[in-house]
């Protein structure tokens, strides 16, 4: 079949993560000879416009990371109306019943599971440093307005609790944005208030936010060996931190291959369109722990 055109709609087009995904998809397109239209869908309204726009251009389907997983039915509906095929990447659609929509093929990591991985990493490092759980507090930089963010921090929280973390020692620092400075502002008062703790662990929805917490801990006077911060993604923010001269409280990050996500999901869709072979209903990917010691290697492996 000639002239295949697919869309790649992402919820945060400025984020390095999604840029990588779209880049990977475009690269694959060039290689295999199909066109990838890169679009932004930062809210439901924009997603629907983007789909309309794809339809105007005669695209046969699209890959999407939706701004809200509950938009699933509306998006799937619109796609069906236009006879377009849909696959999701990163965030899986939820149906009207609140369960994942099995009818739309998905590829991604579960936010909850990746969060668990963060929690487990922290617990392991705590043990390695020989910290007494009673003296450790957790700074949970939360963003409950964002469902994915909540999933991730919930996952991390549960994993920590399973590993014997004291529930009362977990403190929320609600941030207003997902960047470093908003996390910093949210973290400062929490640290001031809980001066009795010697050791802190820090987690959040992404690396930038964890970094904000780490900066606040430094400002507060905690030294790097008193802090374990673990992020998610594997982006420039983490590389910047790892390439500093001296180690900081930012211990590591759970890196996920955005390149692989973009490439694979686009490929799945392309095969579906050209060979009518429906991709697997749900492909789960996992993250790799990236620390100061192995970051360059992991980065290369994952093609970031």
């Amino acid at each position: 079949q000639d002239d295949v055109k697919i869309g790649f709609i992402v919820k945060k087009p400025e984020q390095a993560w999604f840029i990588n995904e779209q880049d990977a998809a475009s690269a694959l397109g060039e290689q295999k000879g199909f066109e990838v239209v890169r679009l932004a869908g930062e809210d439901g309204q924009q997603v629907l416009s983007a789909i309309d726009n794809l339809n105007s251009q005669g695209a046969q389907g699209f890959v999407i990371c939706p701004p809200d997983v509950r938009l699933g039915p509306a998006i799937a509906n619109r796609a069906k109306q236009y006879g377009m095929k849909v696959v999701t990447v990163d965030d899986q659609f939820l149906g009207a019943d609140g369960k994942p929509m099995a009818s739309v093929p998905h590829l991604g990591m579960s936010g909850y599971k990746i969060g668990q991985q963060v929690g487990e990493t922290i617990a392991k490092e705590m043990k390695a440093r020989g910290w007494d759980p009673q003296s450790v507090a957790a700074l949970r930089i939360s963003n409950n307005e964002l469902p994915t963010a909540k999933e991730r921090t919930d996952g991390a929280t549960d994993a920590l609790l399973d590993a014997g973390f004291v529930e009362d020692n977990i403190f929320d620092a609600p941030q207003q944005n997902t960047d470093t400075s908003s996390a910093f502002a949210a973290a400062s008062p929490v640290l001031s208030k809980n001066g009795r703790f010697e050791h802190w662990v820090i987690f959040a929805l992404n690396e930038e936010s964890v970094l904000g917490g780490v900066r606040a801990s430094e400002q507060y006077g905690l030294s790097p060996d008193q802090v374990i911060g673990v992020g998610i993604n594997g982006s420039g923010a983490a590389f910047a931190e790892f390439s500093r001269e001296k180690p900081t409280g930012f211990y590591g990050t759970i890196a996920v291959s955005s390149t692989m996500h973009g490439r694979q999901s686009a490929d799945n869709l392309y095969t579906w369109i050209t060979e009518d072979k429906e991709p697997p209903a749900n492909t789960e990917t996992t993250g790799t722990l990236m620390t100061r010691d192995n970051w360059q290697q992991v980065r290369e492996d994952l093609g970031l």
């Binding site: 890169r38 809210d43 309204q45 629907l48 309309d52 339809n55 509950r70 307005e145 964002l146």
Partner: protein, 333 residues
């Protein structure tokens, strides 16, 4: 915010006697209409798939939210005030409509309560501004925070799914190929065009924005007027919010962040003065369409995200600069 200069726009012209009257008026009324026409022709010629029925329908649909709310924002700005809370109202009324529909099982009740919630917020804004003389930027900024908070609390932070199927029909019901949200937008443009130009209410709004002390001395009930204009704004934002919810199939407390700036800039682009007293419905329509067309064309042309920022910024600036240039040239000649 000093746009005295902008007020020198609409004086008749000596030259151009040769052109047919409607065209002359068009060119004189606003350089912006000319900008839009040129832009539209340019896009139709240069951008493949732009001038196709389905793309135009999609384009219209994509501007419904901004367009609908811009009509009442125009009234608020004409009054010399501003309303930053519209995006929060959209989210809140959508969430409320979704919740009420789901719990009551009745689409009618859900829709009405959702819209009423929007109107109530608007009326409250108006009350605070008119009764206590609070600066509307601050009052509605407070409302923006507060009402967004209400939306989160009402929904528990998660988007509210709607279980009653009739609710979806609202957003997709279509007539002559256009859906209800588009018709609503068209309706708002007509209604508020008429209100602004053909009713005492509209003229009093402009008079108050031009010089509120003068209006009040001339016997205009400025306080009531302000409350009504803000309530209308809330009502229309509420309608827009309910329609959005129905179109999306869920009431999302996070939706439409930053919408207020887009709406205000569409109005200002359309020649509405931020200092009050100057507004035109065609201007606003053109402002909305310019922004929509540019965005749509960038999608069709597959402009990389980052460059979209540059293009949006540049177009905005060029459009107003062209408009100013036309005005000064006219004033000079």
């Amino acid at each position: 915010m000093n746009d005295k200069a902008a007020t020198q726009s609409t004086s008749p012209v000596e030259g151009r006697r040769g052109l047919p009257k409607p065209l002359r008026t068009l060119l004189d009324t606003s350089g912006l209409i000319a900008v839009f026409i040129l832009l539209f022709i340019g896009l139709s010629v240069l951008v493949p798939d732009f001038l196709t029925g389905r793309n135009i329908v999609g384009l219209l649909l994509s501007v419904t939210l901004i367009g609908t709310i811009a009509t009442t924002m125009m009234m608020v700005l004409a009054l010399g005030e501003v309303d930053l809370s519209v995006a929060s109202i959209v989210a809140f009324s959508g969430v409320v409509a979704a919740m009420v529909t789901s719990t009551s099982g009745s689409v009618v009740i859900g829709v009405l309560v959702g819209i009423a919630a929007g109107a109530a917020v608007g009326a409250f804004n108006g009350f605070v501004v008119a009764r206590f003389g609070i600066n509307s930027l601050i009052a509605t900024l407070a409302a923006m925070e507060f009402v967004r908070g209400l939306a989160y609390i009402t929904s528990g932070g998660d988007a509210v799914m709607i279980t009653v199927p009739g609710f979806f029909d609202l957003g997709s019901a279509s007539f002559l190929g256009l859906t209800l949200p588009v018709w609503t937008m068209i309706g708002c443009f007509l209604v508020f065009g008429v209100v602004l130009n053909m009713t005492a209410f509209g003229r009093n709004t402009l008079a108050t924005g031009g010089n509120s002390e003068a209006a009040s001395l001339a016997g205009v009930n400025v306080r009531r007027l302000k409350i009504m204009v803000f309530a209308l704004q809330g009502l229309v934002a509420g309608i827009a919010g309910v329609l959005l919810t129905s179109r999306m199939g869920l009431g999302d407390p996070n939706t439409s962040q930053g919408l207020e700036l887009a709406v205000i800039s569409a109005c200002v682009l359309g020649g509405v003065s931020l200092s009050g007293g100057v507004a035109s419905i065609t201007g606003v329509l053109v402002g909305v369409l310019i922004m929509g067309c540019v965005q749509n064309a960038m999608g069709l042309l597959n402009v990389p995200t980052f460059y979209q920022y540059l293009v949006r910024g540049a177009i905005l600036l060029l459009a107003v600069m062209f408009d100013r240039w036309k005005q000064t040239r006219r004033a000079g000649g």
